[in-house]
C-alpha cells in the first residue's frame, strides 16, 4: 500500500481535532422557565444531547491524540 506523510502537518491537524472536540463538548444553552411541561421535556432532551455532544467531542480529541501519536511514531522512526 502506498505510504506518504507530511509529519509536521499531522500535528496541525491533530490540534484542529482538539479544538473541534473541545468546542463540541461545551455547548451553551439557556434554562427554560420552570413550571412548564415543555421545560421539563427540554431539560431531559438537553441532558441527553449534551451527553452525546460531550462524547463526540471527547472522541474527537482522542482521535486527535491518536494522530499526534502516529506523527510522534514516524518522527522517532525517522531519527533511528
Amino acid at each position: 500500500m502506498e505510504f506518504e506523510v507530511h509529519i509536521g502537518r499531522l500535528g496541525q491537524w491533530s490540534d484542529r481535532l482538539d479544538d473541534t472536540g473541545t468546542a463540541l463538548a461545551q455547548p451553551k444553552l439557556v434554562a427554560a422557565p420552570a413550571g412548564w411541561a415543555a421545560a421539563a421535556a427540554l431539560s431531559t432532551w438537553e441532558t441527553a444531547l449534551v451527553g452525546l455532544l460531550r462524547a463526540i467531542g471527547e472522541q474527537t480529541v482522542h482521535t486527535g491524540d491518536s494522530v499526534r501519536a502516529c506523527a510522534a511514531g514516524y518522527r522517532s522512526a525517522d531519527r533511528s
Binding site: 500500500m1 491537524w13 473541534t20 451553551k28 444553552l29 413550571g35 431531559t44 463526540i56 502516529c70
Partner: protein, 488 residues
Amino acid sequence: MIIGYAQLCAADVATWHAGATAWRRLAQQLDERLEEFDATAAGLRQDWRGTAADAASVAVADLRGLTAACRTPIEQTGRLLAEHADRVSAARQALLAARTPEQAAMAVAAARQSDERTATALTQLTASLSPPCPPNAGPVAVREWWRSLSKTQRDLLILSSPERIGRLDGVPAADRDRANRELLRHEQDRLTTLLDSLRADPNADRERDRVERTLAGLATLADRLARPGTYLLGLDTAGDGRAIVALGDPDHSANVLTYVPGMAVRLDGHLGTSLDRTAAMAEATAAADPAKSTAAVLWLGYDAPDNVLQAASASAAHDARAALHEFQDGLAATHEGEFGEQSVVGHSYGALVVGETVRDLGLRADDLVFLGAPGVGVEHAADLHVDPKTVWAASADNDIVGLSAPSVRQVLKELVWPRYMGDPMPDLWHGHNPADAGFGGHVFEAADNPNPISAHLAYWDRGNPALTNVGRIAAGQDTSVSAPPPKS
C-alpha cells in the same frame, strides 16, 4: 404540570425566546464544527496516505456523521421553542385583554395546548437520538430493540453510554466490544487520575492498592485486546472488578465455550493467566474439530471469593446466577447461524457458580464441564435438571480441592489416608463431588500431579488429557473423551 391563569400572566416569554436563540446558535456552531471536520479530513487526506491514514479518515468521517445527526434536531428545537414562545406570548396578551371568563379560559387553554405540544415534540426528539431500551428486557427483546435502531443511533449510544451498552446481553458481540473498549479507555484515564490523588492521601493505602491492581488488570486487557479476534464483552472496575473476554467471535463461531473461573480471580495483573487458560481451551476445541470455528469466553462476570474462607460459602455463586444465565441467553440471542456446540466450563469455585445457575435458573449449554470442583450445589447430576449425559467432570487425584470436605473428620481421613484410598472424596463443601462416579455424570481423565496446588491449576497444561478432553467435549466429540485409567 398544568398551566393556570397566574402562571400565564407571569409567563417569561423572553426566556423562551432566549432559549430558542441559544439552540439556533448551537445549530450554527455545529455547522462550523462540520466545516472543521471537512477541512481536517481534506487536510489529512492530502498530507497522509497509508493504512493508519485510512483509519484516521474513517474515524473523522464517523465523527462528522454523528455531529451532523445531532444538528437537525438541534435546529428543530430552536424552531419549536420560538413557536412555543410566540404562542405563549399571544395567549398571555389574550388573557390580559380578556373581558369575559370564557375569553380568559380560551387563552389559558391555548397556552396549555402549546405546552403539551412542545413537550411531546421535545420528548420525540430525545427518543430519536437516544432511544431507550425497554425496561427489564431480556436478551431477545434487547436484540430486537438494538436491531430496530439506525446505525447512527447505535453509534451514538455506544459513544455516549458505553457502560450501559457494553454489558447488555442481547447486543451483538462486535458492538459490545466497541462499547467496552470505549469504557476501558475512559476507566484507564479515570483511575490514573484517581491514583494520582490517592498518592497524596496517607489514609488511602487500601484504595490505592485496589486502584493499582485494577489498572494493572486494565493494562493486561488492553494488551490482549490488541490481538486480532479478541472481544471485550463486559467490564466493570468496581470492587475487585469484572471482565468478560471472548477469544474468537462468539456470534459467528460454531462452537462456543464459556469458562467460569474460580477463587481469587479478579481484574488485576494476573488476569492473563485466566486468558491463557481460555486460549488453551479454544485451541483444544479447534484441534478436536478443525473444520468448525471456535470462540472461547472468559466469564469473570461475578465477584469471585477472595480466599478459602469465603469459598466455603455459596453466597458468591448465588449472586452470580442471574448474570451467567442472562449471558448465556445473550450469546444464543445474538448468534448468527447454527450453533455447533455451546458449552460451559467451571473451574474450582466457578464450577459451583455453573452448578447453582443450572440448578436454579437453567443455563443455555449443550454440555457442562466441571474441573476441580468443590461440589456444584447438588448431590446428583440429575438434580441439575439436565440430561446427566451432558454433565462432565474431572478432578486430579491430588487436587487440593479434594480437601474441601464438609467435616474435620473427613479432612483428617484424607490427610492420613491420602487420596481416600485412591478415589476422589465423594462429599465436598458444596455437594457430592461431580468427579465421583456416584454423582451420575461422565468422569473424564485428568493428569495427576504430586503437588496438590499444582494439581488444581494444571488442567490447562499442554499434554494434560483434561485439556484435550475439554476440547473434545466443547467440539461435540463426546465419544473421543478419555475416561480415567483404572486404579491399580
